[in-house]
Symmetry: C2
Subunit: 334 residues, 2 copies
């Protein structure tokens, strides 16, 4: 019999279709042949040497050979840094000016690399750039939520191959944030503890879905993963906002993030994926109920009418089996 | 200045990116060349003549020349009609057996047609089949929600080209249903009216986003449409559950559903799309606050990390402009 599982954090029910699930590696090699990229592309605005193609740098981390990570405003932003967030209300129609901040984090000077292949020290610089921008942007009083995310590959929605991630800061709290926070408050009120902390304790006790663990972080496939190889990385220390990450935690997140992406790279042949950092709305900083984390979603299956019509997902893989596949990957050579 | 709009029904905020929006027809012709299909395909389990390839028929509408619409159990169902919905709870891990019903509605005996091209009388038969199955399935006391949906084209998640839709009946109420119903109750408690009825009144008063209207239905682009050409069809009469649809309303829904799909077919060159019918969980039948409807989502843009990480959408088209494009399409010849 197949199983329906509830993700107690999001409260979403997921149909885990074991009989539909094929062999563990059924998702690999489905994608079209990936082209070999040059180290430098003269048409790429993010390549070292083409800095004049971007808007004025907001931040950079530099080494002896020039910049290592660079942050620039998004040239094609839908949100503008100018203006006020005044509501316009006319009956059921509510709107406001599209005020906000959109930045691009250029992760590396080279065109032909990706986080899975970068040295851990370089991934740590990318995370430091995220933190610096998060801390800076949260000072803007018009901003309510900051979303840091990455689109890797065409199926994940990117148009530029140069390794980069994005920051979008919105003048409203997205409704989905509110819904999840309300649920975490309910759990805290009922049980007197953070539902994320409880999940870490139970995942570490069971180990069935744990991919990797280090001093400050644990990476696992959620019990009710929405789709094949959907992964979460949780900080072990209870903290609600991403920018609360300590220097020691940055040094711990970098190797585990690189490592799980490298496992995906090997196991699924460099799949397209999205990741995002889920953090508290900026009005708060420390709460007892919310816990920031990283979510990674390989884009190897399609959503269809059932998902749109219900908000539920059918996952054609078994979380425990996917975790075992990823645990077994040899990533030392990357 | 771009605009952020709130959908008062779903409470989702959407960034409407006017400056990113290209000409109205920028979304047409992006898809790969569609192959010409045969009227009959010997390998297709849904073609007339191949009935032995499907499981035993649950329902059919027949004419003088044989069946017109046929409903069969889904051969590759993730949910089983057998068993009980007993919860298994171990700490934060909650699951239950995957009990439920999955059926396929074969919309036409022919392989090479689609709802946009069918006679209205045939589309009415498809809707009657939906209603009959909905009424039948709701009698099963293990069922909490019934989702009827369609995946048209590969980008919309279908693997079979023969025109068909699906019914999935789940033993739980999807969390997204609960969240939206709670919101409709809040609106009703605050304002003393149904938020959907209020939206119909305001959309008909403004007409800016209305595509088409007939005796019993109105089709429009939502004010805060999630993506280009996202459409809603609302029944004008307040009713919470799809199976409450009257015979007269079926005869009114068929032409407007066919017509809006035909407008899409012409304007965007037969785009891939999903639609689904949003209806009350089966525990209820008539409420003052919830209103059933049809939602149509053309699959012409991709979701990426921002959408995953926030639940918000960036719509690169302007609802009023898209509605004007669809209103102007000549569909009489189809």
């Amino acid at each position: 019999m197949e199983e329906i599982r509830q993700n107690i954090i999001t409260r979403d029910w997921v149909i885990i279709s074991k009989t539909r699930a094929g062999r563990p590696n059924e998702f690999a090699g489905k994608k079209k042949e990936r082209q070999v990229l040059p180290a430098y592309d003269s048409r790429c605005p993010f390549c070292a040497g083409n800095e004049h193609e971007t808007l004025d740098e907001s931040f950079a981390i530099r080494g002896n050979d020039g910049w290592r990570v660079r942050v620039v405003p998004n040239k094609f932003a839908a949100l503008s840094p100018h203006g006020q967030r005044n509501r316009r209300v006319a009956g059921v129609f509510r709107s406001m000016p599209a005020v906000g901040i959109q930045e691009v984090v250029i992760e590396h000077p080279r065109h032909d690399t990706t986080l899975a292949l970068m040295p851990e020290a370089h991934v740590a610089d990318v995370i430091r750039a995220y933190r610096q921008r998060y801390e800076h942007v949260r000072k803007d009083e018009r901003i309510e939520a900051i979303i840091i995310f990455k689109n890797h590959g065409e199926a994940a929605g990117t148009s530029l191959q140069h390794p980069h991630s994005q920051l979008v800061a919105t003048p409203i709290v997205p409704n989905q944030f509110r819904v999840r926070i309300d649920e975490s408050i309910r759990y805290f009120d009922d049980m007197g503890e953070c539902v994320y902390c409880r999940t870490i304790a139970e995942e570490l006790a069971s180990r069935e879905r744990v991919i990797e663990e280090n001093e400050h972080f644990v990476a696992f496939i959620p019990y009710a993963a929405l789709s094949p190889y959907h992964m979460w990385i949780f900080p072990k220390r209870h903290a609600s906002s991403f920018d609360d990450i300590t220097d020691a935690e940055v040094m711990s997140l970098a190797p585990i993030l690189k490592s799980v992406l490298a496992r995906l790279y090997v196991a699924l042949d460099d799949p397209d994926y999205n990741y995002s950092i889920r953090s508290l709305p900026t009005a708060g900083l420390r709460t007892e109920y919310f816990h920031w984390y990283v979510t990674i979603i390989p884009r190897i299956t399609k959503t269809a009418g059932f998902e749109f019509g219900s908000g539920m997902f059918i996952n054609t893989s078994v979380p425990e089996e996917s975790a075992a596949v990823l645990r077994d990957v040899e990533v030392d050579r990357l």
